[in-house]
Symmetry: D2
Subunit: 423 residues, 4 copies
């Protein structure tokens, strides 16, 4: 690799930086599923801003809306004041996303990022129930501020808190034990046993597909069982759809497939459609006991994000084309992964994971997965790992990625896997 990290600015930055270590080049331009580096080299993007760019980089129709917003001197920063663009965002969201799915949610703007949405969700659940504890799942990721971090699994990230993270009890995610035990055996027993020592939880917070956790997709029946368990025990169900919502698994919400209706839903990442900071916390109307301003923040009304978000709803969610295409593309990735796994099956166990266009190929070791992504980078493909040992090669391409580019990227990946496993 000949790319040289830009020395000056690097030395100004804290050691906490991360992605620039995997991909030590400086990018300048981006379009669709392609990023361009300073030296002009093009990279296919199988990461899409960790699921923030479901419609690709700088989508031309969204771009037009955003530029017009700036050109016309429309309100860019509006706190949570009423603006026309904010109203339009809300109405479009209601008309094209909530109503067609029979969902009745109030929307709150908890701050610009996903972790704000999670913090607001947890605060509300605690306020509504008067309980403090929350059940989360093994290998969950919900954010880096203290509330969200306490329900996140990763031990490095938890360790960064510098204080004991409490008020959360991790429960086994779907298939954590390879289905040798009945679903929710442990959680259900703890909830019904008055001597279990489990503090009765305010809420359960869950991702339908754990992205950072290794592209672990919960089965629909597991999600339904979880929803039933919550109903039975008077516990609020929070679905964190920050990474898996906005069409990543096919439908707009990742929980649609299971036919459940969470009490609270968090959205962010792709909600603006253009990689701009925006987050929503959806709540059932009967839970809306917030006092005015009880949760607030400066960046809850970023005009261009409202504009592009509303436009994205219109472009992609007026019909079911994107959903179908996502499922088809996802099936293609799955089949390619299955082929790769089958080819190595005699010597290595590769596990194919995921749902929709959130896909993972689990390698025997994190070291091998790291070799795959390094090699892919050299070949012009940006792809990341996840999972507790970084052992899962994670695919989160733009949903709009052209079939050919997807295929070519998978070709690179296939070769990289072959090399890593035969090294």
């Amino acid at each position: 690799m000949t790319a040289i990290a830009p020395i000056n600015s690097t030395s100004l930055e804290s050691e906490v930086r991360s992605y620039s270590r995997s991909w030590p080049v400086s990018f300048t331009h981006a379009k669709g599923s392609t990023l361009v580096a300073e030296d002009g080299r093009e990279y296919t993007d199988f990461f899409a801003g960790a699921g923030t760019l479901n419609y690709g980089h700088n989508h031309p129709e969204l771009k037009k809306v955003v530029i017009d917003h700036f050109l016309e001197d429309r309100v860019v920063h509006g706190l949570d004041m009423f603006t026309d663009v904010r109203s339009r965002f809300l109405e479009t969201f209601n008309d094209l996303i909530l109503s067609p799915r029979g969902l009745d949610y109030k929307v709150s703007f908890p701050g610009p990022g996903g972790t704000n949405a999670v913090e607001a969700a947890l605060k509300l659940a605690r306020k509504v129930t008067g309980r403090e504890s929350v059940v989360n799942f093994t290998n969950a990721f919900h954010g880096m501020t203290l509330g969200a971090l306490s329900v996140t699994g990763n031990s490095l990230k938890r360790g960064g808190a510098g204080i004991p993270l409490v008020h959360a009890t991790p429960m086994p995610f779907d298939d954590y034990f390879g289905q040798v035990v009945p679903d929710f055996m442990y959680l259900e027993r703890l909830l019904t046993d008055g001597g279990s020592g489990l503090n009765k939880p305010a809420a359960v917070i869950v991702e339908t597909v754990q992205g950072e956790g290794g592209i672990n997709a919960a089965r629909a029946e597991w999600l339904r069982g979880l929803a039933d368990l919550c109903t039975t025990h008077g516990i609020l169900l929070i679905v964190d759809d920050i990474q898996m919502g906005c069409g990543r698994t096919g439908g707009f919400f990742s929980f649609e497939e299971a036919g459940i209706t969470p009490d609270i839903v968090t959205l962010s990442k792709s909600i603006s459609g253009y990689g701009m900071p925006l987050a929503l916390t959806l709540l059932k109307p009967e839970l809306d006991i917030w006092e005015p301003g009880e949760h607030n923040g400066t960046f809850r009304g970023f005009g261009p994000a409202f504009a592009s978000g509303a436009k994205a709803f219109e472009l992609f969610w007026s019909d079911d084309e994107l959903e179908k295409s996502t499922i088809a593309k996802g099936a293609y990735v799955e089949s390619r992964f299955n082929q790769i796994a089958a080819r190595h099956a005699d010597r290595h166990e590769l596990i194919v994971k995921g749902r929709g266009l959130a896909r993972g190929l689990q390698l025997p070791t994190g070291e091998q997965a790291g070799q795959v992504t390094s090699r892919a980078f050299e070949e012009g493909l940006l792809v990341e790992t996840s999972g507790p040992s970084d052992e899962v090669v994670k695919l989160l391409p733009a949903l709009t990625i052209p079939d050919e580019q997807l295929r070519d990227g998978l070709d690179i990946l296939e070769k990289a896997v072959d090399e890593a496993l035969t090294a």
Copy 2:
């Protein structure tokens, strides 16, 4: 008031919304210090996005940079990958802000908003010292996620946490007791008394001027005393400059006047210069013990914000014109407030507060302050209250507000105060 709130979108939104209650009109356009409502009415903005728009709404030269960024399909969402625009932001920040002030900080991008910057600061301070407790100050405001909320004073906001907020001990801010007691008498004694029961703090977190707390400006000697106390006791000093930095009080950093060098500094709000979500946590190089990725987040690399931020440094911080002008404008506001206070002095005690262009006029009651801001709104002026009883009329106009518009706004305010006090 004849303005009608946009019914449809309002009913979709959670009761937690706040500013749209004070100003129940829908805004569409904005430029400089003027916001335009749907009905075409213009409002002078004395709030500036709670200090996010120090250079006014949609500054034309910054706008050009932002639009070009979009037009050229430069990287909009870049996580924390290297991008050319990110490097330029860092280098310009170093060249125009840090170096000229003799400051040696590493920069981390903790997430898009101020609360993320505070969370990162607290996490780092705890990690570095191995201690958990933090000292904050009465009437502090640092954010709404659990870590930042625990060092925030407001009881309504704290109550929203739904769990006991711990690990923080509030100490009296400057002048909390009208200077009848020596500075830091209590804190110093608790720190030196091995039987005091104070958990030895990792850090002290302080605003040099408390915005939400009522525009309480700490004296320079108090800040120096605090810095000395921290040094003596091996406690890290965090200055939260999210609202008061970026020139609000004159110099770029609000702590420059006191001549202190905090260990950690948080910046956000006006750092992009255009109201776009961006935040920084600055740390002394010797504190940079973060592991890669130990604190992260999706929206740490918003390209247009880097572009406008770098341009704003060039436009406003290549010389000391803005600083001088801010101090002059601030002095003008102060003199006007002094006149108002003097005129009512026989019947009401009005207190003139603040520094630079963070100014407050404290009325006898929160009700009166609310009457002032309501009346001002009717007359086309957006101005907010703060303080524990919302008793302080708070001025945070754009630093770039034209003298005439500032004067006219103050005229409105003066009349509104007169009305409120003679009602």
Copy 3:
């Protein structure tokens, strides 16, 4: 029942009183396994002070030692000063209990009761490891002060804390799922999975037989597995032997049978042999990093308790007679319980539980178990229930109970069970 509760003193006492509700008579005298009420009625004691009176009430040889201590004006209250009787207690404990079992522990006197011993154990484990979290087990009981309560399961008792009880994660005790899952499947997985979200524990605290939890006896191989798991992961193993130690299950320590050596052991209840407040926390010498006085308390040196405790070691632990007799008596209780269970097996599932002379008969419902103990009381037998629904009739008779008295008590119990199940 004609017994009248002593009205005057009852009205002076808080509603928190408990045993006097089950047995509303006033007792005056006691000897061996017999308690005498104010009206002269005699009751057989199958509860033995919740396991505090393993050698019966007022054992004549211990009594002599105690009275002599008082008569001779020996030191009664000695804080933790050296006294001759304290030295003798320690030496006898070492010579007759620790040394013969090849155990090398340092002894600390953490305060007068079991909960003090648990608090000291948890504090030490946290200090030694630098970690905060502790793993406890479902249906555990360790005490009522905040540290001990946080590792206790019962929800009523936990609720009494008035603050969220944190830093503890409950894991399934042996047989919690009827052995459909491998032992420690969940705990082991959480410990090895860096993304599990389990805060790495300082210690595991366990009772070998859960008394309050329903006389749940862990299998020896489960205890060995737990000890191995702790060793593998560098976690301290605390055995709370407050109720099950001092010969209750046969050997002096309840963990001897499993052949494990805990890092820390708590003892109390029967350690004085005479129902007098005394508690010990045993710790492996290499863990003895306490600073002088870092944990202390007023009642750590109760002279008469040292005297009777040392004498009890000599009387009961100079040979293996008591151990053999306890096992034989336990086997007799078990056979009687098995007969009762078999007789009702066609209509009710009764479960026979326990080890040594800690025995339980689990009835289908807590109501039925309550009927059994009420009826037994009417017939002159004191016996309690335990378990999460109070569904287990719990036998903790003195180890010294005469065979005939044990048989007669069981006859009463058998009839009471028959009545309750045919009602």
Copy 4:
């Protein structure tokens, strides 16, 4: 010093032992204010079991009652069952202590030691108010279990917890700033300022005279002010009278002098009159919302302690002789201390502290105070230090100490002080 520590038993004991380090001899007998060591040497006891032996060691009339209790095989260990001796204790306590003082409290038996009483008090206050936080005072000492430790000041002891101690905020005790500030200035302001950041407390816990904290006696008007403040703000007032109750300051309760009526009172130490483990938590009847068994423990019904406690009420609290004598003896100690202080006033500032027979002489340094107590020990006097730097020579002699023995002890002390200050 030629005394040899008993080697064998010492090596068996944890390093946490404390008093045996100051007084490295082994004691065997005790009577009144005299302890006898193994070598026959007699020591005058100015420590009285840290205030546990207000009526001296082994008082002959109490001893008779205790021995009779054992001789007659009365119930020694009775959990919280009704026993005749328990009823008599309650009735005598009511008749001789509560009623004559117009106090209407319910009594709970929270466990055998003071820390149990404090834990029960805190739990109840939190349960009653639904709040978690508690205000304690600088240099407070309330016990070593986690709940009590969190409201204790000493940093060594707090550090032993191994987890962050939270839910408590230390406030300045009376005279903490030499009366340069109004009483409760800080606490009152924090309580009334909605933006102070103080979590509204469930309770304030206070010692009227801080024993461990350095014999700091609060003024009666300060205590009245505190009680008023609690009433005004709906906060429960807990007086921890474990060390200062039972006549130590003159009246039975140390708060009588101030004329206040706490909501909750803790008692232990001298309550049995004979150094036997017993503790009470008194609560106003309207606070008695405990569920049966919500707080419990094994050693809540130690028969001999009830017997001697009831007898002690009769012996010492049927009239006001003891109270008068304590005040007189206290005045004598004070006058002697004043003489000593006056004699050294030109070169050293000695501070005379305390109330009743809780008296302290503060030396310039902890080292000097340590020299005094070491020298006193050599001369046959047992006296301890306290205070944050162990700089206060603390006198807690038995209230029954003969005048001559008190005088002789003070003579020893006086010489020891002279030596220490002229060394």
